[in-house]
Amino acid sequence: MKKTVAEYRIEHLQVLDPQGELVSDLPDFARDPEQLLSMYRLMTLTRTFDTKAINLQRTGKLGTYASSLGHEAAHVGIGSAMRDEDIFAPMYREYGAQLWRGVKMSEVLLYWGGDERGNDFSGPRHDFPWCVPIATQCLHAAGAAMACKLRGEKRCAVTVIGDGGTSEGAFYEALNLAGAQRLPMMFVVVNNKWAISVPLHLQTAAETLAQKGIAAGIRCVQVDGNDVLAVRAASEEALARARAGEGATLMEAVTYRLSDHTTADDATRYRPKEEVEEAWEFEPLLRIRKYLQSQGMWDEQREEDLLRECANKVDAAVEEYLNTARMPVSAMFDHMYDEMPESLQEQREIAIRYEGSGGGH
């Protein structure tokens, strides 16, 4: 005899369609115009910042930079659903979430400008810094959630990973732990279809990335990652459940990487132009702007004012970044240990003696 012992399904949430039409019930937060406008303003600021950061890199004023173009809804949706006391463990391009949480644009620039002080950001001081080794941050988020659980705190951990990152062992290890321990946390897979040059179908044969949580026994949902209302609504629900002791959620936000992987990449080598052009029709700012317009909350004048305001804010951040002098060579030795060992003190003196001697070439 054979019988079905388990069955699963993955639900997809969309609140606004690409034309900005409401296709689901309006989430509670979206009844507050101020909330909607804050989200749209930050998405626009993030995009303005992104364009400027790429220009800075192109003109030699910034190092390699990972663009967030096309991810504004996913990132702002996550950030706006979190509380300050929650713990964020990002990968490296979630500026929309981080700016919402209080990280400064000048700090983002410092990090990509080769200065550790960017990681010492003014957003929630308990948040984790950017995380370049793929998927390792998922385990930190699980550990943070474990700490919250053990101390009986009503706080959640949120981590973000890309479609490529879901191939890493650390991702599955974290999912498994979150399931086994009913951890108060949310995993967000921002599926932008490309891991540098590797398309999703070479990464996995699964129909969705949301279903990667099924085997871990956690709740799995998929949302339209270009729809900021859907991302925030699903995130709020996941975090409410986590706070109520109902365990972790894996949310897949389906979007598209409209940029190169980083400024060091050239996506025209491997990605068809037509695919990118088509993806622009679904880009996230467009639909929320259309919705705001349809509700009488937005018009061309306000858009123009907003763009100017964003440009001014970004310019101020860039100026602050460019005016931040390099740390002295001794900074290399600071914060290595709680107390500096003697051997390191000797090396510190050598480094100071040779400061500016060129190194390298």
């Binding site: 390699t64 890493e168 990464q203 190194g359």
Partner: protein
């Protein structure tokens, strides 16, 4: 004869072996259509197909582990780890399996794989993209660690590594990927592993180095030459196992030893060179051995990275101090 860069030497060697040996498979993240983030595998998938030059899922443990599996079953995988900073999930497979397979099966299975990775600082890269952790692999019994420092040696040593019946970690100093060109003939002639290369003969002091630091070291040696100080510069090339004969012979002649590496000082490969020269050649030494290395700090982000890397002046000063001892 084509004039090529170090990275083109890598590409030429990969193409040569793909052409000549059906067992060779190149695999890794973005090595296929994209040709590698540094272009080391540019054009290879177009030429040899997606089954010989394979884009894998993003998982370094998987890349190393599947290579162990392929190698044990008679293939010659040449996996690429995109940056050394992402190699650590692969470490388990290298230390627990690649380096042990021959020994623990009493020679029944072997593991002829070459794990390639760009390494080192000085290219203004983001966090985790600039470290030099070759000593970690040198500490693994059964694993060879090879580092080329020129286009000629990139070609010749990579050919030798692919043909080597043992696992090799082949670390490419990315700062000098495109620094200099040499004429290299694509003749399929490998260079020997497990030997040092003498870059410059001298009589007053021996400087042992490898990878990108060969450039600063040669500059220092040339500057010292103007002052009448004659340095012998040795490129270690195979970091493990080390060719101590060449080093000891040189120290016997010069009586002085300086070791230069980019990696942190503590337990760096320089410590192994110094310890063995102390064990086997201490009576030839006229002065204490000196090390000029990266500091025992986290590799700083790029605003300070040039302060971290040993400078020509630091190297030259160390030689002069050794001569004054």
């Amino acid at each position: 004869m084509p004039r090529i860069t170090l990275i083109e030497g890598v590409t030429m060697a990969l193409a040569h072996e793909l052409e000549k040996d059906d067992r060779v498979v190149v695999l890794g993240e973005d090595v296929g259509v994209n040709g590698g983030v540094f272009r080391a595998t540019a054009g290879l998938q177009q030429r040899f197909g997606a089954e010989r030059v394979m884009d894998t899922p993003l998982a370094e443990s998987m890349i190393a582990g599947m290579s162990v599996g392929m190698a044990a079953q008679g293939m010659r995988p040449v996996p690429e780890i995109q940056f050394m900073g992402f190699i650590y999930p692969a470490v388990d497979q290298m230390i627990s399996h690649a380096g042990r397979l021959r020994h623990r099966t009493r020679g029944r299975l072997q593991c002829p794989m070459v794990l390639r990775a760009p390494y080192g600082g000085g290219i203004h890269a983001p966090e985790h993209h600039s470290e030099s952790t070759e000593a970690m692999f040198a500490h693994m019994p059964g694993v060879r660690v090879v580092i080329p420092s020129s286009p000629t040696r990139a070609y010749g040593l990579l050919l030798a590594s692919i043909r080597c019946p043992d696992p090799v970690v082949f670390l490419e100093p990315k700062r000098i990927y495109r620094l200099a060109k040499q004429e290299v003939e694509d003749n399929g002639e490998a260079l020997p592993l497990d030997v040092c290369y003498i870059l410059r003969e001298g009589t007053d002091a021996t400087i042992v180095t490898w990878g990108a630091m060969t450039h600063e070291t040669m500059k220092a040696a040339n500057e010292l030459d103007q002052k009448g100080i004659s340095c012998e510069v040795i490129d270690l090339a195979t970091i493990s196992p080390i060719d101590f004969d060449t080093i000891l012979e040189s120290v016997e002649k010069t009586g002085r030893l300086i070791i230069v590496h980019e990696a942190p000082n503590n337990c760096g490969v320089g410590a192994e060179v110094a310890a063995t020269v102390a064990e086997k050649g201490i009576y030839d030494l006229k002065a204490p051995i000196r090390r000029v290395t990266g500091y025992d700090t986290v590799m700083p982000l790029f605003r300070l990275e040039m302060e971290y890397l040993p400078s020509v002046r630091r190297i030259a000063d160390a030689v002069v101090e050794t001569l004054e001892d």
